[in-house]
Symmetry: C2
Subunit: 163 residues, 2 copies
């Protein structure tokens, strides 16, 4: 480790402003969506997201690793979250036939019901506090940006190393 030879390329005023707006805005947005889900439907955002992924899957079932990857959550985190959902009766676990190590999470009737109840609240929030607020083109830009971010950071990326 030598002393930094290259002066850091700081963000300019506009970039810094945008970056901070994103940080703060994301904090507020996630807080709000999470709070709404909790208060009205007793679900956290991560729990809700899991229910969504399951509901879209073949047979309403998905392996733990698949869930983890599709949410970019750690496996441990998914294990804990599924445990809570299971305790709440929204999901059951079943071990995987084709792979003895595997475990599948499966949406229950109750889970389907909970999701159907919660979904309108959630999308209404996503619209009210993000989608409908942004110019269509700006929102599309946001999608492009984070597609790129995801590509860059997604697992399997061997040593993306800064500086």
């Amino acid at each position: 480790m030598t002393a930094d030879p290259v002066p850091a390329r700081w963000l300019d005023r506009d970039q810094q402003h945008a970056w901070r707006a994103y940080l703060v805005g994301t904090t507020l947005l996630m807080d709000r969506l999470d709070r709404d889900l909790r208060e009205r439907h007793n679900l956290s955002m991560p729990e809700y997201e899991i229910l969504v992924r399951l509901s879209e899957a073949e047979g309403q079932r998905l392996r733990m690793a698949m869930l983890a990857d599709s949410l970019s959550h750690s496996r441990s985190r998914v294990t804990h979250t599924i445990s809570r959902l299971e305790k709440a009766g929204l999901v059951v676990r079943e071990s995987c036939l084709s792979d003895g190590r595997g475990v599948e999470a499966i949406l229950t009737e109750q889970g389907v019901a909970a999701l159907h109840e919660a979904a309108p609240t959630h999308v209404a929030g996503v619209r009210a506090f993000l989608v409908d607020l942004a110019a269509e083109e700006d929102f599309a830009a946001l999608g492009r940006v984070f597609d790129t971010v995801t590509d860059k950071l997604i697992e399997g990326n061997p040593a993306v190393d800064i500086r």
Copy 2:
């Protein structure tokens, strides 16, 4: 509460894609920036953000409530974070002269040093995984979007109620 009379306005395919890209991308981005800060400088993102706000403030000091507001973190959260930073010697607390209830957090020499060490790493990451990845115009759009989101959600907003 009557049964939902209005069918929910779901997101269309592109909107849904953009929304999920944002969710996943943000997860990955924050994880990565946080990890980099921790591994190289023993700081979390929230800790780093606090140091930044303090360093920019008059006299490198800021009241707890000011910190909380500028980060959109809860006061409790700021109390805990500052406690950790204080334990690490990067910050000290001092009670406010003009307001007996108030407490100011003040950057120490060590805090300044830690920030100066960590900053280049952090901006390099923000650039490598976000800013330099996005078309300039797209990144600007992101700024606009989250300015609006923040305006809509910022405290003082009396009962922004969905549906």
